[in-house]
C-alpha cells in the first residue's frame, strides 16, 4: 500500500480526502479555485427523486466554531443530477464520485439508489438517513436501528455498488444503529452527519434559521465525531468514513487513528475553498513528522 492510498470496499483512492456532501455543490463549482483532481473523491450534494427547492431562507447561521444549515435538500432531482450535473463535473474531475442518496420514503431511497447504481462515474452510494419518513411517523429514518436497517436492506436488494450509511449523531445509542446497518448488509458507514442546533437573535428572541432548529457543523463538532467513531469502530467490521469538523492534516490523522479508513472535509470548504488541496499537500509532511509510513497502517491505532 502506498503512503496516502486507501481502499473503500474494493475502491482504491489516491488519498483519503473526500469532499463532503452538501458543502461542495456538484464539485465543478470548486474547479475555479483549484484543480480538484487532487482530491481522493467527492460526495455529491444529497439527491432526491423529484426536484425540490428546499427550505425557505434564511437557511444559514454562524455560531462559535461553526455554522448551522437547514438547506432542506435542495435538489434538481436524480434524473437531472445524472443527465446534467455529473457530466458537468466529469469535464473537470476524472475520478469516481460518491452519490449521496436522500428520500422521504423507503421506495424513494431505493429508486434514487438504483438510478445512481447504473451511473459509471459513481463508485459508491452514501445513504443520508437524516430525512423524515413522511409515509410513517415523520421521524427521521436515522433515529431507530429498525428504520436504518429497513432502508439499507431494501437498497441492497437492488444495487451492485457498495452502500455506506451516513448516520445521524442525534440518537441515544449510535453503536446500536451502526450494528443494525451492518447486519442489514451495509458495506460501510459515514460518521457523522450534523448535530441538531439552534441560533437565536438576542435583540428579538427569534430563531435565525427559518426552520428554527438546524444542522450544526464545523470545527466545534470534531470531538463528538472522534468520540462516535472511536465508540463504533470496535463494534463493527465494515469500514468507516469519518466526517465532522476536519480542517487540517492533523485532524485527518486523528480521525484515522480512532478508526476511520477515509475522511470527508465539509463546512471548511465554505470558509476556505482550497482546504481539500491544502490538507492533501500537508498530510505527507505530518506523517513523516509522526513516523507514519502508511495511513492504512494507523487505522484504529487509538484502540491498541
Amino acid at each position: 500500500m502506498d503512503k496516502l492510498g486507501v481502499t473503500l470496499s474494493g475502491w482504491d483512492l489516491e488519498n483519503p480526502i473526500i469532499a463532503a456532501s452538501g458543502t461542495f455543490g456538484y464539485g465543478y463549482e470548486f474547479a475555479s479555485w483549484y484543480d480538484i483532481n487532487i482530491l481522493g473523491s467527492i460526495s455529491l450534494k444529497g439527491t432526491t427523486r423529484e426536484p425540490r427547492f428546499g427550505n425557505p431562507t434564511p437557511r444559514i447561521a454562524e455560531c462559535c466554531g461553526g455554522m448551522l444549515n437547514a438547506i432542506g435538500l435542495q435538489s434538481p432531482g436524480v434524473e437531472s443530477v445524472i443527465s446534467e450535473e455529473i457530466p458537468k463535473l466529469r469535464s473537470v474531475f476524472k475520478k469516481k464520485v460518491i452519490a449521496n442518496v436522500a428520500g422521504f420514503s423507503v421506495a424513494e431511497y431505493v429508486q434514487v439508489a438504483a438510478l445512481f447504481d447504473a451511473v459509471e462515474e459513481v463508485a459508491l452510494l452514501e445513504i443520508n438517513v437524516s430525512c423524515p419518513n413522511v409515509e410513517s411517523d415523520g421521524r427521521v429514518f436515522g433515529s431507530t436501528p429498525e428504520s436504518v436497517a429497513l432502508v439499507c436492506r431494501e437498497i441492497k436488494k437492488v444495487v451492485k455498488k457498495p452502500v455506506y450509511m451516513k448516520l445521524s449523531p442525534n440518537v441515544a445509542n449510535i453503536t446500536e444503529i451502526a450494528q443494525a446497518a451492518e447486519s442489514a448488509g451495509a458495506d460501510g458507514l459515514v460518521l457523522i452527519n450534523t448535530l441538531l442546533g439552534m441560533a437565536v437573535d438576542p435583540a428579538t428572541g427569534k430563531p435565525i434559521v427559518s426552520t428554527k432548529v438546524a444542522g450544526f457543523s464545523g470545527p466545534a463538532i470534531k470531538p463528538i465525531a472522534l468520540r462516535v467513531i472511536y465508540q463504533v469502530y470496535p463494534n463493527v467490521r465494515i469500514p468507516i468514513i469519518g466526517v465532522g469538523g476536519i480542517t487540517c492534516a492533523d485532524d485527518v490523522i486523528e480521525f484515522i487513528s480512532v478508526g476511520a479508513t477515509a475522511v470527508q472535509v465539509g463546512s471548511q470548504n465554505l470558509r476556505d475553498p482550497c482546504v481539500g488541496r491544502d490538507i492533501i499537500n500537508e498530510l505527507p509532511q505530518k506523517m513523516d513528522e509522526y513516523g507514519i509510513e502508511t495511513l492504512g497502517g494507523i487505522v484504529g491505532r487509538s484502540h491498541r
Binding site: 452538501g22 463549482e29 428546499g54 425557505p56 431562507t57 444559514i60 455554522m67 435542495q74 465554505l270 470558509r271
Partner: protein
C-alpha cells in the same frame, strides 16, 4: 474569475453613522465587474462576510459596509497595514449591455448604494447618460452624494427629510422619466421599484454560507418555477426573472 488572495487595508474610515469605507490593495487580476462582491475572512468568525465592491482600479478596490453585527464591527476596528484573506470575483455583476441606448436610472437604498457607484463610473466611461436616485432612512446614514453628483444628475431622498426630499425613492421615480433601472437595496425597496414596472436589473442581498455556489444557503425562487443561487447566479437578477411572492409560496 474567482481568486483568493491577501489584500492590505490602505484605509478604513467612517463615512456616516455605522458606515465605513475601506480601501484594499492587492492583486486586481480577477477581472472585476460592477455589481460583484468579495467575501472577507475575519479572525474569530467562522463564515466570511460578503460585501459588494463599490469601485476599483488597477491596484485597489473600495468597499463600503455597515456595522450590522459582531463580524462587521470587528472589521471596522481593523487598521491600515493589516491584511485580509479575501475571495474575489464573486457573483455575476450588472449586465450593462442590456441598458444600451436606454434612459437609465440607478436606484439605491442604504448600503445597496455602493455597487451602483462602480456601475455609474462604468456607464459614464461607456458614454451613457443616467440619473441616480439615492435613499436613506435618516440623514446621518447618507454618504457619497458628492461622488455621485460628480458623475450624474443625483436625486436624494431620506425618510426623515434631513437631506434631500422627505420620502422614499419611488416618490422620485414617479417624477422622472426612465426606461431602464439598476437597483440595489433592502428587499422592500427593490419590490417597490419593481412594482412601478419597466425593465431593469435588481441586486439582492442574502445570508450566505460560502459565496460561490457550494452550499445552496442563499437560493431564491425565480419566475417560471426555478431558483437561483444568489451568490453564484446572482446577486443581480433581471426584472423578467425575479419573484417577490416566493416566500409565501412555501
Amino acid at each position: 474569475m474567482k481568486k483568493q488572495a491577501f489584500y492590505e487595508i490602505k484605509r478604513n474610515q467612517p463615512l456616516a453613522r455605522d458606515i465605513f469605507l475601506m480601501t484594499l490593495v492587492g492583486p486586481m487580476n480577477f477581472e472585476p465587474r460592477p455589481g460583484q462582491f468579495i467575501n472577507i475572512k475575519i479572525d474569530g468568525f467562522y463564515l466570511r462576510r460578503p460585501i459588494s465592491i463599490c469601485s476599483f482600479d488597477e491596484d485597489s478596490m473600495d468597499i463600503i459596509y455597515k456595522i450590522a453585527g459582531n463580524g462587521t464591527d470587528a472589521l471596522s476596528k481593523m487598521s491600515p497595514g493589516q491584511k485580509l484573506d479575501v475571495l474575489c470575483g464573486l457573483g455575476n455583476g450588472f449586465d450593462l449591455s442590456l441598458a444600451e441606448g436606454r434612459r437609465i436610472v440607478l436606484v439605491g437604498g442604504g448600503v445597496g448604494i455602493p455597487p451602483l457607484y462602480g456601475l455609474g463610473k462604468a456607464l459614464k466611461a461607456a458614454g451613457a447618460e443616467f440619473t441616480a436616485v439615492l435613499g436613506w432612512q435618516t440623514h446621518d446614514q447618507a454618504f457619497f452624494i458628492d461622488e455621485f453628483s460628480a458623475i450624474c444628475p443625483t436625486r436624494v431622498v431620506t425618510n426623515d427629510g434631513g437631506i434631500g426630499k422627505k420620502g422614499v425613492v419611488t416618490d422620485i421615480l414617479r417624477e422622472i422619466s426612465y426606461d431602464y433601472y439598476f437597483t440595489c437595496g433592502p428587499e422592500p425597496m427593490l419590490k417597490a421599484v419593481y412594482d412601478l414596472g419597466g425593465n431593469g436589473q435588481l441586486s439582492f442581498e442574502a445570508r450566505m454560507g460560502c459565496g460561490f455556489g457550494a452550499c445552496m444557503g442563499c437560493s431564491r425562487k425565480t419566475l417560471g418555477g426555478g431558483s437561483k443561487r444568489i451568490c453564484m447566479q446572482g446577486p443581480v437578477l433581471r426584472s423578467d426573472e425575479v419573484l417577490f411572492s416566493w416566500i409565501n409560496l412555501e
